[in-house]
């Protein structure tokens, strides 16, 4: 056991910190730190810098362009980039499809797609959820019917993040209608400009529009765009979801938001408010406990009471803690949450009602934070899954 990171790890941390300091554009940093909306160009600008440095795909194996980091290094990279105000890596190509392609793709598929993902030239949208299904992926109804060298795909996907940034789509489709749920599902890739595909933005209650619907109307997808075997798509999707959840504890993001709470308390002259100070202290302590648990799990040779359920438990605790932090930010904002300006949220101009501070974004951020316990499998589903492991083992 050792409290401190090794000197090598600390040196790596410093390197990342310095890199962010030197390379991150100050306007992007300002948007991130103030909880404002980012454009695609903001993400691409930062990802290109990471690509140039060789750091864009920490989760990929070295031979496919990953940096070959230890879990601790990946952890430190996440923390330092987020604490430094860098955008998160939201590209599904990097986080989700990449690992699936690497594990299950043909050599041709890998050559065709991986390099463009790494260079942010190609952005992938995820087509999993469907209307009326939510976390219950297995009950999907989008179909793909074989027609010569093509599949004909028909259906309707929702909650597709950032599809308006994307040129490609990976998609779960039903290839065997008679099979049981979770069977008869295949994993298909397609260009978003294929005829028959329509992307419609979903306006969200806090004014954002990161999510979309994707309508698929007799879309012809070449058979070579199938990942792995037909009807085995559920396996690949589960592999992908496992990848999605690592890092979902969001330690770096929570640390960044706690710094924001402290800054706002000071800026608003509320340092003497013992209630807010106590809440900050309580949340700081909860974050330390979550971080320690995340690192303990990375360490692995410790006994962990819920083997197999670690990711779910980190997701549950991490998202609920982040929601608590966003709620505290919302409390600190006081009456400043009453006015709202979409322009101010985009830093496109300063709303005269709000002034030049970020307080109006705090209501939007609070509303947005509710998604944390919904997406990636609701926290209810995570607790169901975990309890099964705990009470049946």
């Amino acid at each position: 056991m050792r409290l401190e990171f090794t000197p090598k790890e600390e040196a790596f941390r410093q390197e990342v910190r310095q890199f962010v300091k030197d390379e991150l554009d100050s306007a992007i940093k300002a948007k991130v730190e103030r909880g404002l909306r980012l454009e695609k160009a903001d993400y691409v600008a930062w990802y290109t810098k990471l690509f140039d440095k060789g750091w864009i795909t920490p989760g990929w194996p070295e031979e496919e362009g990953g940096p070959g980091w230890t879990p601790i290094q990946k952890y430190l990279f996440d923390e330092e980039t987020l604490l430094g105000g860098a955008p998160r890596i939201i590209a599904s190509g990097i986080n989700m499809l990449g690992p699936v392609l690497i594990a299950f793709g043909t050599p041709k598929q890998k050559d065709q797609y991986l390099p463009a993902i790494r260079r942010s030239e190609s952005w992938w949208a995820q087509g999993f959820s469907e209307p009326g299904a939510g976390s219950d992926l297995a009950s999907m109804r989008t179909t793909a019917v074989r027609d010569g060298d093509h599949y004909i795909v028909n259906g309707h996907k929702v909650w597709t993040s950032y599809a308006h940034f994307c040129d490609k789509l990976f998609c779960l489709v039903k290839t065997d209608k008679d099979a049981k749920p979770q069977e008869g599902i295949s994993f298909l890739l397609m260009d978003l400009d294929t005829p028959g595909i329509e992307v419609r933005p979903i306006k969200l209650y806090e004014g954002g529009n990161d999510l979309n619907e994707v309508y698929l109307d007799n879309v012809r997808v070449p058979v070579e765009n199938l990942i792995g075997e037909e009807n085995k798509g559920w396996t690949y999707a589960k592999y992908l979801l496992g990848h999605e959840r690592t890092g979902i504890a969001g330690i770096g993001a929570s640390k960044q938001q706690l710094l924001r709470v402290k800054r706002l308390i000071k800026e608003q002259g509320m340092a003497g408010d013992s209630h807010f100070q106590r809440r900050v202290t309580e949340l700081e302590i909860e974050l330390i406990a979550l971080e320690a648990t995340g690192l303990r799990i990375l360490g692995a040779n410790q006994t962990f009471n819920a083997q197999g359920a670690e990711a779910s438990m980190l997701k549950v605790r991490g998202t609920e803690l982040r929601q608590d932090i966003f709620e505290l930010l919302y409390e600190v904002a006081g009456p400043a949450v009453i006015p709202f300006s979409e322009e101010a949220m985009r830093l496109e101009g300063v709303d005269p009602l709000i002034g030049d501070d970020e307080r109006s974004s705090l209501a939007a951020n609070f509303l947005d934070s509710r998604k944390l316990s919904i997406y990636g499998g609701t926290n209810e589903v995570q607790r169901n899954v975990t309890s099964k492991m705990l009470l049946q083992g």
Binding site: G132, G134, I202, L204, Q268, I338, L353, I374
Partner: protein
């Protein structure tokens, strides 16, 4: 304590409900409507006697109390009405009613009751947070002969974007003054914007605006007492409005739990959601009780007791609103976070109601102070 409703109160509620169901059909709630349509609705509310409910009979009102207004506000909250009922009928109307000379009442109150004049309330300022003491206000009056000049800035003026006039709180040598200022006064500029829940709001900038003595409603201690009273009244109104919005959120969640299937069963069959839904209903019912307590306190109790019960009601309602909002969103899933779904519009209305004229911390302090004074 007696919560039973009289026959007249019930009839009033029914009338308001019919009006709201007709004028605010579900698909329009939370959507922007034209100024013309809103003007028309406002006229209908005046005809129904809703705006003048608490206005004295000499000015064309019904001389009723907060308990009656509560029924109106609950329905307006249930339908997400964007009409300036709170600012004009509850706040400005009651201030002019309580403080105005008969001339002032004829000039401003009668047209308010008739729906011809919309008067917003300018109290908050950009610098301080819910600091409603005159000595902290930067909006100041200076004497000029028999008249005054008013300078300073007022922020968060709800329904202020197209109000015809404003009741303004300002200080004169440390003492509070409450004034009526027409929207077209020389030297008054307004910057308009939107609230979180898409209603209209304004910042007012007064640059040496001439105020004649006829515009002064009250000053000094009389103004202080009236301000305290109207803040209590406003809080009671916000509680009633919130109860309406929460009722609808609970109803929509109940319906959703009954029809939406997940993993082969309707959501309402999952025990964790059942239990959390029970807690939503408990929170709602407690809020309903407290909104009634607040309204009765405004109508009946002395200043200290009223302040205590009203601030208790606001805390209680705000906590309930937070719980119900979170659960309604969570149970609706991603759909609950879309602009298309009504849930979000109710959630945002409740968020604004929580923050107008004092947040939870502010109300807790009010409660503790009034308890200490009363004890």
């Amino acid at each position: 304590m007696d919560f039973s409703i009289s026959e007249e109160q019930l009839q009033l509620r029914d009338a308001v409900k019919r009006f709201c169901d007709g004028e605010y059909p579900p698909e329009m709630r939370g959507q922007q409507v034209s100024a013309d349509m809103r003007r028309e609705r406002w006229g209908m509310m005046a005809e129904l006697g809703l705006i003048g409910l608490a206005v004295s009979e000499t000015c064309g009102g019904s001389d009723l109390g907060m308990v009656e207004q509560m029924g109106v506000l609950e329905e307006l909250g249930r339908c997400l009405s964007p009409e300036p009922y709170l600012s004009t009928a509850v706040i400005s109307g009651s201030l002019i009613n309580a403080l105005g000379t008969s001339e002032q009442q004829q000039r401003w109150l009668a047209p308010i009751a008739m729906g011809q004049l919309r008067v917003a309330f300018a109290l908050d300022e950009p610098r301080e947070r819910y600091a409603y003491q005159a000595s902290l206000m930067e909006c100041r009056l200076t004497l000029e002969g028999e008249d005054y000049r008013l300078s300073g800035e007022k922020s968060l003026v709800l329904d202020g974007a197209d109000a015809d006039a404003y009741v303004v709180a300002a200080q004169h040598d440390g003492a509070l003054q409450l004034l009526v200022v027409p929207a077209d006064a020389v030297g008054l500029t307004r910057t308009t914007g939107s609230t979180l829940d898409s209603r209209e709001i304004a910042t007012l900038c007064f640059a040496d605006v001439l105020i004649s003595s006829g515009q002064v409603l009250a000053e000094g201690e009389r103004a202080e007492c009236a301000l305290q009273a109207v803040l209590d009244r406003t809080s009671a109104a916000l509680c009633a409005e919130s109860v309406g919005a929460m009722t609808e959120l609970v109803e929509q969640t109940r319906e959703f739990l009954k029809v939406r299937k997940q993993f082969g069963a309707v959501l309402g069959k999952f025990q964790v959601l059942q239990h959390r839904f029970v807690d939503m209903v408990i929170a709602l019912e407690q809020s309903r009780s407290m909104a009634a307590v607040a309204a009765m306190a405004v109508d009946e109790a002395d200043a200290e007791k009223s302040r205590k019960l009203v601030s208790a009601a606001r805390v209680s309602v705000a906590r309930a609103a937070r719980l119900i909002s979170k659960e309604a969103v969570q149970m609706h899933g991603a759909m609950g976070m879309t602009d298309e779904c009504q849930v979000g519009h109710y959630v945002k209305r409740l968020m604004v109601a929580e923050r107008l004229f004092g947040d939870i911390s502010h109300q807790l302090q009010n409660f503790a102070k009034s308890t200490a004074t009363a004890a």
